[in-house]
């Protein structure tokens, strides 16, 4: 059977039986589900969550369970696409280079067509759409992969974009002007035509992760999704446009609609990936023409501004920075965008510092690799880039402000970065590497390796006493 959310849950549950938790107690979708995620996150716990008893937007029992927190774990995100959580930059890059063309299947092989609703029967209120944060303007669909089609090349473009519920058959849709979907929307608007748009909610994790890929517009993320799945993505003609616009056959829920040209309506505030609310603004709208879904569809939600949203979004960026740096610095080893920088704003780049200039070249290439990343720190291979403390230690002991800083002014930044006041941004990086050989440098303190290996605290102090000693986290 082709891969989808169901096959993922089945396989994952065999490998990690307690990692995706089913909640049977009734929980409301407005604030209560995010509050549970937040409470778990504060204990550094990131299970996938399935809420079986929840409410739709009429306040009635929902027919559709909510699945959320699916992307909150780096391990789960990485292993779901067959890569190692500490080797994402390298291995995601490898996967992206093995593009697979999607295939078209018939209706019998398309569970997303089990229920088809069109025209005035469309009703988004029947779904348990979550209201996430207190100042959010409405319930938002946050796991919706918005698909458009370039009218010139005919290629599809996919991106995770939020949709504000406005009515039974109407949503707001924030399409960032700087995004590929924004570029395609401008083409339709210049032609005075409505833009066909499909929103996919719920599929194998590779679907949303492939949609985040930072490939060129004319490549098409359907092929990247195939690469991450390890098999072609299955598509089927849509209800609204038939074979002219294909939709994922094995999705949980598909929303089809039109974005009318030039229409902007008030939308947001909305809690964004920055952990701030994005301001109220005027955004495009989506007039829904059809909804198709499985009879027992999972409604997938992502808690934006928390690990569920941040971790997965960083994968494609890590890969892109790695690719860019590798062009000129072949000794680059790894890249990590830590949670402390929203998995976007800060990049840790690890290199083997072989030649004078390697570390500065790495900085200069990492910073413009995407418009969101605005801080980069280059470190040596002995620094664990998955530990903020080690990176800060490298800065503390291997950098000088007058020699090791690179600043690039007047760059395009993230529209949602609250610190940008005048449109552009200044990016900066710190070279926190030791000088390359043969320049001598001090040695890190250490102990004889055999003594460290032989030290067993449980044996020495006893497990009970060891548990009683309070860990300190600062």
């Amino acid at each position: 059977m082709a891969k989808d959310l169901r096959t993922f849950l089945r396989d994952w549950n065999k490998r990690y039986p307690d990692d995706i938790v089913r909640v049977k107690k009734k929980v409301k979708p407005n604030y209560e589900i995010p509050a549970i995620q937040l409470a778990l996150e504060e204990e550094s716990k990131f299970p996938g969550l399935i809420f079986e008893e929840t409410e739709n937007l009429y306040g009635q029992r929902s027919r559709f369970p909510v699945i959320t927190n699916l992307f909150a774990s780096r391990l789960r995100c990485a292993e779901s696409i067959g890569i190692h959580p500490r080797r994402v930059a390298v291995e995601y890059t490898g996967k992206e280079s093995q593009l697979l063309e999607p295939v078209v299947v018939n209706k019998r092989a398309a569970p997303v067509k089990e229920v088809v609703v069109k025209g005035n029967q469309v009703d988004l209120f029947q779904f348990p759409v979550v209201t996430h944060h207190e100042m959010d303007s409405a319930p938002f669909i946050t796991a919706g992969v918005v698909t458009t089609k370039d009218p010139d090349s005919g290629e599809y473009n996919l991106a995770l974009q939020r949709l504000e519920i406005k009515d039974k058959n109407r949503t707001g849709v924030w399409i960032s002007p700087g995004s590929h979907n924004g570029h395609i929307l401008r083409k339709y608007e210049q032609a005075g035509k409505p833009m066909p748009c499909v929103v996919t909610v719920g599929h194998h994790p590779a679907f949303a992760m492939g949609a985040q890929s930072k490939i060129a517009l004319d490549v098409g993320e359907h092929k990247v999704i195939g690469a991450l799945l390890g098999e072609p993505l299955e598509l089927i003609p849509s209800e609204t446009w038939g074979e002219d616009f294909l939709v994922p056959a094995r999705a949980e829920l598909v929303i089809e609609g039109l974005v009318p040209p030039g229409v902007r309506e008030v939308e947001a505030p909305f809690g964004e990936f920055t952990r701030y609310y994005g301001a109220q603004r005027y955004s495009s709208v989506l007039d829904v023409t059809a909804i198709t879904h499985r009879k027992d569809a999972y409604y997938h939600d992502i808690l934006v501004s928390h690990a569920d949203n941040l971790v997965m979004g960083g994968f494609a960026l890590e890969a892109k920075i790695y690719r860019m740096v590798k062009e000129a610095v072949p000794s680059v080893l790894n890249v990590h965008l830590p949670l402390s920088g929203c998995c976007r704003f800060i990049a840790y780049v690890q290199i083997r510092n072989e030649l004078v200039g390697n570390s500065k070249d790495a900085l200069a290439l990492a910073l413009p690799a995407n418009h969101v990343t605005k801080h980069a720190i280059v470190v040596d291979e002995d620094i664990d880039i998955f530990d903020d403390r080690e990176v800060l230690w490298a800065i503390a002991t291997r950098s000088q402000w007058d020699k090791d800083v690179v600043i690039l002014s007047g760059m395009k930044g993230a529209e949602l970065d609250p610190s940008i006041m005048d449109g552009d941004t200044a990016k900066g990086g710190i070279d926190a590497t030791m000088p390359p050989p043969p320049t001598p440098y001090e040695k890190k303190v250490d102990l004889p390796a055999e003594v460290v290996k032989a030290t067993d605290l449980k044996k020495l102090l006893g497990a009970q006493l060891l548990r009683k000693i309070t860990p300190e986290t600062w």
């Binding site: 100042m135 959010d136 303007s137 409405a138 008030v266 505030p269 609310y277 301001a279 109220q280 603004r281 005027y282 940008i420 006041m421």
Partner: protein, 48 residues
Amino acid sequence: MAKIFWASCPNCGKDFYGARELRVKDLDMRCPYCKHMFKPSQASKLVE
């Protein structure tokens, strides 16, 4: 210049913020708490 401004809803009194463009063009705002529509110039309080 700040790119946002805070507004107090004239209906429920709660505060939220909008993009600068809404203030410059005096476009309708919608209170996220009570859904009341009003123009920035009608806000009971503005911080900009």
